[in-house]
């Protein structure tokens, strides 16, 4: 059985050929890998490939299909593409054209809210100020549009990636 796995812009076809105990044989886009593949602890694997020792740690980002993968030297975001992912991806694309959501990449606190539902906004207009760890960041409108929803109020704490303001740019 073959799976589609996405890393940055690359989508690879991965086939699990056999898997007995530690011994894992897989093909990535037709290139075969004979690995000694062992789970060390939850989300952490030791992999020997041609006697090279790799340590890989996986942190689930969303459900079971998206992971932050840390190797000794570098971090990657990897996604398993299955039917659900494909559907969501196509929906996301369609949505993004007209509708945008303002969110903070990190948890913080809403210091100042400049808009309310129904407001018209212009490109570059500051919508909200979020404070996190002694630093304040302003979030601005990327174009002209109108505020369709405001999910938070001033003084409220927000999680990373939590929707804060929805804008219709159409």
């Amino acid at each position: 059985m073959s799976y589609e796995v996405k890393l940055k812009d690359r989508i690879a076809q991965i086939e699990v050929i056999s898997h007995h105990g530690n011994k894992l044989l897989v093909a990535v886009d037709g290139r075969e890998y004979a690995l000694d593949f062992v789970q060390i602890s939850r989300g952490s694997y030791s992999i020997l490939h041609e006697n090279k020792s790799y340590n890989v740690e996986l942190i689930p980002l969303e459900g079971v299909k998206k992971y932050n993968v840390n190797t000794t030297k570098k971090s990657f975001e990897v996604e398993i593409i299955d039917a659900e992912s494909k559907y969501l991806a196509s929906r996301r694309e369609a949505d993004e054209e007209a509708d945008a959501v303002i969110s903070s990449p990190i948890p913080g606190k809403v210091v100042k809210l400049y808009v309310k539902e129904g407001d018209k906004v212009e490109a570059g207009q500051t919508l909200v100020v979020i404070s996190a760890m002694k630093m304040e960041s302003e979030y601005k409108a990327s174009g002209a549009g109108s505020v369709t929803a405001v999910d938070v109020s001033e003084g409220e704490s927000v999680d990373g990636r939590q929707p804060i303001i929805h804008i219709d740019y159409s």
């Binding site: 299955d82 659900e84 760890m133």
Partner: protein, 501 residues
């Protein structure tokens, strides 16, 4: 003799202070805000007292609450750490009134050094070189122009009431003098309602080098050599080392003597740091004095072989210094890397969150001071410094190689952090050669922001791992259903329902 110390701080420095207290057999009291109930200093101390809501002004900066905790817990001394109340001259006064020993200098020394003009005058009187410029604020344009001519270009014009870069102008050429001065004064007037300005010589390729001093209550003062702190981003130190790669023994001696003179001029007591700005010709000028323990104090501890927190406590106990200047020596080389919860790929935005996993480096020559643990939720109210890596080597080369090794072992997952950025600093030519100024980070942005490389199979192995983890989770969710699955479309609906269990 002090029997119980309240640590009026949080994070790694609170834990570090408690460690030395424990070694001395002194009882320890942690204080904590709402956000810090599960912070490491609370878990690690003998006692923990709640002092208010999460924002610092209502807790770690709230003198009344802290003194109340000291009284109720029976602490006979308070260690302020760094930041928060550590340089507030009101705090030692209030401690004194409450009959509690403040582990640090007098309110007088603090307020003298805390006021730029007073500090400058005091240092000039003590024969410590200061950056050429106006001692007093200037409100008259002609006087300002004359001063600029005396100092010589380039100069920096600073709003007297200012801060945060507002009302600051760098003037490099003759024709910029008048417009620069006017712009600075007008900006200052708008921002602070006061158009008085200072004028100072601008040091072009500056080094930030500081000297550690210890002074007891009996007039004995020693200096424990320098720390080179020029690796900074937006005036925030990131990497420090000692000895400085640029100082000569003669200049080290002179600056050390100046540091002792500076401390003596304010009757200093305790541990303190005299910061100098040093130009490429090794001219040095007093910048300011930090009247407390510094974040980067461990590199001095390692190279000089002294526990600075213990020395602070001995001094507060009224003991004469056991250290003699002529016996103090720098042994080998130490480098500190500050680990921040921040996202280097996104303008170094602070990145609070839950730490899911930590790999800490160990072994020869490695010390880690930190305040996080697996499962700890880094609060968003405070400084993003979460750990310090202090590495020692018999010389700079070994310290550098060991820092690379330790940083490679060091992994924190769950929160974004600057570990890989620090690793790249250790490989950047300017740092490797010891040839860098405070402009280092800006000058090397391209190198420092470069992405790591991964060998030819690495990406494939990463994808394989993610897939195997995905399959393991799917299988675990429902082994029987899954084995019967044949195609992706069928997978989809079943997996979804199974995972909701």
């Amino acid at each position: 003799m002090i029997k119980k110390i309240l640590v009026a701080n949080r994070g790694e420095i609170a834990v570090r202070i408690i460690r030395s207290c424990r070694e001395m057999g002194i009882g320890t009291v942690a204080v904590y805000s709402d956000a810090d109930r599960c912070a490491l200093h609370v878990l690690y101390a003998d006692e923990a007292w709640h002092i208010g809501p999460s924002p610092s002004v209502q807790s770690y900066l709230h003198i009344d609450n802290i003194l109340a905790a000291a009284r109720e817990s029976g602490a006979d001394a308070i260690h302020p750490g760094y930041g928060f109340l550590s340089e507030n001259p009101e705090f030692p006064e209030r401690c004194k009134e409450a009959g509690i020993i403040f582990i640090g200098p007098s309110s007088h020394a603090m307020s003298t050094m805390g006021d730029k003009i007073k500090a400058r005058k005091t240092m000039t009187a003590a024969g410590v070189p200061v950056v050429p410029g106006t001692g007093d604020a200037i409100t008259d344009e002609l006087e300002a122009l004359q001063v600029i001519r005396e100092i010589g270009l380039p100069v920096m014009i600073k709003a007297s009431a200012g801060g945060g870069g507002k009302g600051m102008r760098l003037v490099k050429r003759e024709e910029e003098v008048r417009p620069g001065l006017r712009a600075a004064r007008s900006e200052a007037s708008t921002a602070f309602g006061d158009d008085a300005v200072f004028i100072e010589k601008y040091i072009e390729s500056p080094h930030h080098i500081e000297f550690q001093i210890l002074a007891d209550q009996h007039g004995n003062i020693v200096q424990l050599f320098e720390r080179e702190c020029s690796v900074q981003r937006r005036h925030q130190k990131i990497v420090e080392e000692t000895p400085s790669p640029i100082l000569t023994p003669e200049r080290r001696q002179q600056m050390g003597d100046a540091a002792v003179a500076a401390a003596r001029a304010v009757n200093y007591e305790g541990a303190g740091t005299i910061e100098f700005i040093v130009d490429k010709d090794l001219n040095y000028y007093f910048l300011e004095m930090n009247t407390r323990l510094q974040v980067e104090h461990p590199i001095t501890e390692r190279v000089v072989g002294v526990d600075l927190v213990k020395e602070q406590i001995h001094i507060a106990n009224g003991k004469p210094l056991a250290l003699r200047q002529d016996e103090l020596k720098q042994q080998g080389h130490a480098i500190e890397c500050r680990v921040y919860a921040e996202d280097p790929e996104n303008q170094f935005m602070p990145a609070p969150g839950r730490v899911t996993h930590i790999d800490i480096p160990y072994g020869v020559g490695v010390r880690v001071d930190g305040s996080i643990y697996e499962g700890f939720e880094i609060p968003l109210y405070y400084d993003p410094l979460i750990a310090k890596l202090i590495v020692w080597g018999k010389d700079r080369k070994e310290a550098l190689e060991r820092s690379r090794r330790a940083l490679q072992e060091f992994k924190i997952t769950g929160v974004k952090n600057n570990l890989r950025f620090l690793e790249r600093i250790m490989h950047t030519a300017g740092f490797v050669e010891g040839d860098y100024t405070t402009h280092f980070i800006d000058d090397n942005e391209d190198t420092l922001m470069q992405d790591e490389t991964c060998d030819e199979h690495c990406e494939d192995i990463v994808m394989i791992s993610a897939l195997m983890e995905y399959l393991r989770k799917i299988r675990k969710a429902s082994p029987k259903e899954m084995t019967a699955l044949k195609n992706n479309w069928k997978d989809y609906s079943r997996v979804r329902s199974v995972l909701k269990l």
